[in-house]
């Protein structure tokens, strides 16, 4: 379910690191909790985002959810396809439904995030208590 080469946050974002670039999205758990995604608000290119701070918004029919930066960095790309097909966040949250790419300011931050097994355990616990 959760790709083993990604890292995860307690706010249900994921990041995949390739060299100095991190691709960021929301997890399958998050898209399922939100329901039908209808709008994604993302930062402009060049925006500096800070680990733990809000950088964007994902809206479903019923709710607005802020998206927190898993790491610090500078936005190099936003997923323009989501403007016309925001439902891709539901259909392929860990792939084509990615939100932004950033140039990592401090690659060491990544190791502080959960790996797939830890995240799976984290959401399993939430599902049991729900």
């Amino acid at each position: 379910m959760y790709p083993s080469d990604y890292r995860y946050t307690k706010e249900h974002e994921w990041i995949k690191v390739t060299g100095e670039t991190g691709t960021i999205g929301i997890t399958d758990y998050a898209q399922h909790e939100l329901g039908d995604v209808v709008f994604v608000e993302m930062p402009a290119l060049g925006t500096k985002i800070t680990s733990g701070q809000v950088f964007g918004t994902v809206e479903s029919v019923k709710a607005v959810s802020e998206i927190f930066a898993p790491v610090s960095g500078e936005v190099t790309e936003a997923n323009a396809a989501l403007t016309s097909t925001p439902e891709t966040v539901n259909n392929d949250p860990h792939g084509a439904g990615w939100l932004i790419k950033v140039k990592l300011a401090n690659p060491a931050e990544v190791s502080g995030l959960m790996d797939a097994a830890a995240y799976q355990a984290f959401v399993s616990e939430k599902e049991t208590s729900a």
């Binding site: 909790e33 329901g35 039908d36 209808v38 019923k62």
Partner: protein, 357 residues
């Protein structure tokens, strides 16, 4: 019913003490199914209050603003439960079962306070029963609702007029079958003893799924009623709003005689309201949400009461209170959404009206 909903993978939420399904397959799919085929809603949380006896009509007339004396046996109407200030204790459906028996369907979270309010004003000596525990309710709504429900009952559904009801059996269970709803579609709301809940739900769902019916949760119920411009208690109406302000003058009948809040309502009608409920459409991609601030020409003007994407209309819509002088369709307004002042335009309501067959 909880287990039944969970087996359908419903997302559940605590709603005024009730564990309720928010969505099953997704709000958009459920909303579209109800507009184009049918939707099945478990609305057993809704409250029921029964008023009986020779003074039943007197009491209903005293606490509600619509004119219940105009109801025929087997007819229902939408009304407001009023307080002395002419504002809403609740909104409700009043069904006339007989000259001495009225059946009220009220909001779940208001049921107990509604009952106490009615009892406190029962000077005439009517018998009042807080009957929520004795009823479950399912709503089957949409263009295919009649055909699906008809398979389970000998009651001639097609001959029940809109906002009328009959008593009949559905799949062997005794039901009050009303042609009412909260979606803007044709359909029925059926009331029955709770022990029949699971059987009726499963039977209707099995039969309806062949025709595209989906089980629907509170999420789709909200987007459907918003597209149809129906008020939701706690949003468009509450203890601070009057029927005139909420655009509900059609349920407020001061000419019927004395009722709670009548004098204030008569004066407000003569003087005119200061604010009015309007519908609006967003002019860009931002989505207005409940409680967002509204401004007109840079001045604070009111608040959004309900805002959401409208899945069938494919627009972002909402309702809001604005100064009465600014209520005309076409008026440009701004909605405060996060850091943005997002442009919106007042439009006529209802946003959605089904094509009459």
């Amino acid at each position: 019913m909880n287990d039944v909903h969970r087996r359908l993978n419903a997302k559940m939420v605590n709603f005024g003490g009730w564990d309720m399904p928010v969505e099953y397959s997704g709000i958009v799919a459920e909303h579209m199914a109800t507009r184009t085929a049918a939707g099945l809603f478990d609305v057993s949380h809704m409250g029921e209050i029964e008023v009986r006896g020779g003074r039943a009509l007197d009491l209903v007339q005293r606490v509600t603003c619509n004119d219940a004396s105009k109801l025929a046996v087997g007819q229902a109407h939408y009304s407001g439960l009023m307080n002395e200030r002419g504002t809403f204790v609740d909104d409700l459906l009043v069904h006339k079962i007989s000259d001495t028996h009225y059946f009220l369907c009220v909001n779940a979270s208001n049921q107990d306070q509604d009952f106490e309010h009615i009892r406190a004003h029962n000077r005439a000596g009517a018998q009042i029963e807080n009957a929520g525990e004795r009823y479950s309710q399912l709503a089957i709504q949409g263009p295919k609702a009649l055909g699906i429900l008809q398979r389970f009952t000998t009651a001639p559904l097609d001959s029940i007029h809109y906002y009328h009801f009959v008593f009949g059996q559905v799949d062997g269970a005794d039901c009050l079958i009303a042609r009412t709803g909260y979606t803007g579609e044709d359909g029925f709301e059926i009331y029955f003893a709770p022990e029949h809940s699971e059987k009726l739900w499963s039977a209707l769902l099995d039969a309806g799924s062949e025709q595209g019916m989906l089980p629907c949760g509170l999420g789709a119920r909200n987007t459907l009623r918003l597209e149809a411009s129906m008020c939701l208690y706690g949003h468009e109406i509450d203890e601070t709003t009057t029927p005139w302000e909420a655009g509900l003058g059609w349920i407020c009948k001061p000419g019927k005689g004395e009722f709670l809040g009548r004098d204030i309502l008569v004066r407000q009608k003569e003087a005119g309201v200061d604010r009015a409920l309007v519908g609006f459409e967003m002019q860009d991609r931002l989505i207005a949400r409940d409680a967002c601030a509204v401004s007109i020409a840079g001045r604070p003007a009111g608040r959004v009461t309900s805002g959401s994407p409208a899945p069938f209309l494919k627009k972002n819509i909402g309702m809001a209170y604005v100064p009465a002088a600014s209520k005309a369709p076409g008026t440009e307004i701004s909605i405060g959404i996060r850091a943005n002042d997002a442009p919106a335009r007042i439009v006529p309501m209802p946003f959605y009206k089904r094509a009459k067959v």
